[in-house]
């Protein structure tokens, strides 16, 4: 997001804390600046905002609607609440949806212990799911020489799709289907290993929040992802 050089400065309250902000700063950015925790899944510094996971929704005083913190800009005099009981229940419920949608089995997952979904569940105090598991039959694509795409762990945050297009510029990753049948695909739904556009850069693997995209040869709990390089790449693009 391009910053304006001469942005107006405004003030607002987040969880009762007075916060100064530039225009065009999102509630999420401000909260992170001020050490206020807002859970996120599809957001990643350095990628464009997606606004799809809905786990970062916050309340704004005076409105009954909920706003995604990642895509809502600060306005003068705004009073934001990030941790009410209502929000806690909704976030818990959204995690319920994610854990039941596909087959998330932490104990055998290579990302066990390094998974953002798992981290959030622990952080939000989730102990069980309240709706039945859907247990879909989804495939694993291990055709690539270095990486594996395991659709069982995919939460469709589309970080991989965005990083592939926005930063690597390969546009290998795409999306297919609708609703719960949505799938991440490579090129025109071919095997990843057969992709002519994939540069094997591994960026998608490193931005993936769960064990859906992993390196080959890792055992349970061994897959640690590195993504501290992202904001720098983004800055270089802007310059």
């Amino acid at each position: 997001m391009k910053r304006q050089t001469q942005a107006r400065i405004i003030t607002l309250k987040i969880d009762g804390v007075d916060v100064a902000a530039r225009e065009h700063e999102t509630i999420l950015e401000l909260a992170q600046e001020n050490n206020i925790f807002i859970p996120t899944l599809c957001h990643l510094d350095g990628l464009s905002e997606y606004g799809g996971c809905r786990i970062c929704v916050v309340e704004v005083k005076g409105s009954n609607r909920l706003f995604p913190a990642c895509m809502t800009y600060a306005t003068e005099g705004m009073e934001v609440i990030t941790n009410s009981e209502r929000l806690r229940l909704y976030r818990y419920s959204i995690l319920d949806m994610l854990f039941t949608e596909r087959n998330h089995v932490c104990s055998v997952c290579v990302s066990n212990g390094h998974c953002e979904l798992q981290y959030l569940a622990a952080k939000l105090g989730m102990t069980r799911v309240e709706v039945p598991y859907l247990n879909p039959n989804v495939p694993v694509d291990a055709s690539h020489a270095h990486f594996i795409m395991d659709h069982n762990r995919c939460i469709l945050c589309q970080r991989c799709v965005r990083v592939c297009g926005e930063i690597e510029g390969a546009f290998t990753k795409g999306v297919m289907g609708r609703g719960v049948n949505t799938r991440i695909i490579h090129d025109l739904n071919g095997a990843w290993g057969d992709s002519a556009t994939c540069t094997s850069c591994g960026k998608c693997v490193n931005v993936c929040p769960t064990g859906a995209l992993v390196e080959k040869g890792k055992s349970a709990g061994e897959m640690v992802k590195r993504r501290d390089w992202l904001p720098y790449l983004r800055l270089m693009q802007e310059d």
Partner: protein
């Protein structure tokens, strides 16, 4: 210069009409075409070819689709006015041709002095069933493009917007956002490039208003869009039509070609300095593309998924430019408003909802078809007087607003139909589909059906809608099959609340509406289906005995 041309065309058309003794109109909109009205048209043309002074033409929808194919005969010297025929088959053509100028064919006659025809007030549909949708000359003779001509030659853009504001017109796509305000917002945005989009991605089950308007009177929508373009300062217009409407697309293409050739659309239209070009884009079958941000993404060639608003399309729309996006019916109202004035339009309807609304009557009702009534008419009048009531049994409820709407029980049928009243009842006006249900329908099944629709049409972008609708559908299925317990119902209500409040776009935010409204009015139907832990039918808690005082 264009005025003379219009007058010339009008005069030619009027002379042609004056020379005819009889005009036979055959409906060639999708409803009647599906019962072979094209063969009826061919047979009538064939039969009347040696009958001097008889003109046979195809026209748009006449409304009473359940009795199609419909044929109307207008005779110059007739004292009784037009005669309408129902269920006409190609074999009936000789009889109709023979009867011209004599007594009508009794076995086919459809009475027109019934409430279905008498109680309607037609603005959007004024030319439907009257003019040949494939001839621009007939539209011009019916005062078509007069509104555009007045706007671009005599009015400033601000005056045009004022007229729309005065009319009190509200968005007919369902939301009911004031059209004048929307136009003002787009007009005030800076920038040399702006766009006008017509949303013709009509996808609600049981709704066919937009299709009929596009098939019966396509020029009307083009004129509305051009006026909007002039008012907000846009030179490009897009019509996003769903791919399932091939006839509407074909007629639109033809209409655009005719209008461009005549100079009423295109560069320097009507001899002024204003340019306005209209393009057609086809939808690929996604219901969610009716949502404005998803529609814009789809026009841009991207995957049709919505994005959070703000910024609204008025600020950041098609290709990042300010964009005005209105529904087909909204645009179809505009030419009449410009021609007759905003004050005239504001005189029709209720205090907050002005004008008329087109409804598509479907389901368990006598007169299935398309109607246009003034706002504020009660549901009872629409269903019983115009619709003719249900064929068998009792009318139980009416579903309005498609998968975003709700079911209104028969007890509330005296409610006037306007945006606010329907919202207060837990439903919405929606785009105008009305599905009437008799007492054989299970409300749980209705809710399950609409949830299944939302589940398969969810785009998959946001989690609450993508997964929540699946769980809600599974729970409704479980309840309907008599396998659910009270805690399943509690979970269903909890999920409704979550999906409604956390979903990204209107599809998810309104997906629980059919469940919530049936729970509100027909909760006992849900409770009757619940079982206890052992699988036995449970006692209705609604009439549970009072606790005995100790």
């Amino acid at each position: 210069m264009m005025i003379e041309k219009f007058e010339e065309i009008t005069a030619e058309e009027q002379t042609a009409v004056a020379e005819r003794d009889h005009t036979v109109k055959v409906c060639v909109a999708a409803g009647c075409l599906s019962s072979q009205s094209d063969q009826v048209l061919a047979a009538l043309k064939d039969g009347a070819s040696d009958h001097h002074g008889c003109h046979v033409k195809g026209v748009g929808c006449m409304g009473l689709c359940s009795q199609g194919p419909l044929v109307a005969v207008e005779s110059k010297n007739s004292k009784t006015g037009a005669v309408m025929y129902q269920n006409v088959q190609p074999e009936d053509a000789p009889d109709i041709v023979d009867s011209l100028g004599k007594k009508p064919v009794a076995r086919l006659e459809l009475k027109t002095n019934v409430p279905f025809f008498q109680r309607q007030k037609k603005i959007v549909l004024e030319n439907s069933g009257e003019i040949d949708p494939e001839r621009i000359e007939e539209y011009i003779a019916a005062e078509g493009y007069q509104g555009l001509l007045t706007a671009v030659t005599e009015m400033t853009p601000i005056e045009v917007i004022d007229e729309i504001v005065r009319s009190g017109l509200r968005g007919r796509g369902g939301g009911g956002y004031p059209t004048g305000l929307k136009w003002t917002t787009v007009a005030k945005m800076d920038g040399p490039t702006k766009y006008v989009i017509c949303n013709a991605d009509e996808g609600d089950p049981g709704a066919f208003m937009d299709r009929s308007v596009l098939e019966s009177d396509p020029h009307r929508v083009l004129e509305g869009m051009a006026i909007a373009g002039y008012a907000v300062g846009a030179n490009e217009g897009y019509i996003y039509v769903r791919g399932e409407y091939p006839l509407a697309v074909e007629r639109l293409k033809l209409a655009i070609r005719q209008a461009n050739r005549l100079g009423v659309l295109g560069n320097r239209l009507l001899g002024t300095t204003f340019d306005f070009n209209i393009h057609i884009r086809l939808g690929a079958g996604a219901f969610v593309c009716g949502e404005e941000t998803a529609l814009i993404a789809s026009i841009e060639g991207k995957r049709g998924t919505p994005r959070p608003r703000p910024p609204y399309p008025a600020e950041y729309g098609l290709w990042g430019k300010p964009t005005l996006i209105n529904n087909v019916e909204t645009f179809a109202n505009v030419p009449a408003i410009l021609r007759k004035g905003g004050a005239w339009y504001a005189g029709i309807g209720t205090e907050k909802s002005k004008g008329t609304k087109v409804f598509a009557l479907a389901g368990s009702i006598q007169n299935t078809g398309l109607i246009e009534v003034p706002m504020g008419m009660s549901l009872r009048e629409i269903i019983y007087d115009i619709g003719g009531g249900v064929p068998t049994g009792e009318c139980k409820a009416v579903q309005t607003g498609g998968p975003s709407g709700g079911c209104i029980p028969a007890d509330y049928f005296d409610t006037p139909v306007d945006y606010e009243s329907l919202k207060a009842l837990g439903s919405i006006m929606g785009s105008g589909g009305m599905i009437i249900m008799d007492d054989s329908s299970s409300m749980v099944d209705v809710a399950r059906y609409f949830m299944e629709f939302c589940m398969t049409e969810s785009c998959g972008k946001c989690i609450p809608c993508r997964v929540g609708t699946v769980h809600m559908h599974n729970l409704l299925d479980k309840i309907y099959k008599g396998k659910a317990q009270q805690r399943d119902l509690d979970m269903l209500e909890k999920l409704c609340d979550m999906v409604m409040n956390t979903s990204l776009c209107g599809l998810g935010q309104t997906a629980p509406n059919p469940v919530l409204s049936t729970l509100r009015y027909f909760r006992h139907e849900y409770l009757d289906l619940l079982v206890d832990g052992e699988g036995n039918g449970r006692i209705d808690t609604a009439v549970a005995p009072e606790p005995v005082e100790a």
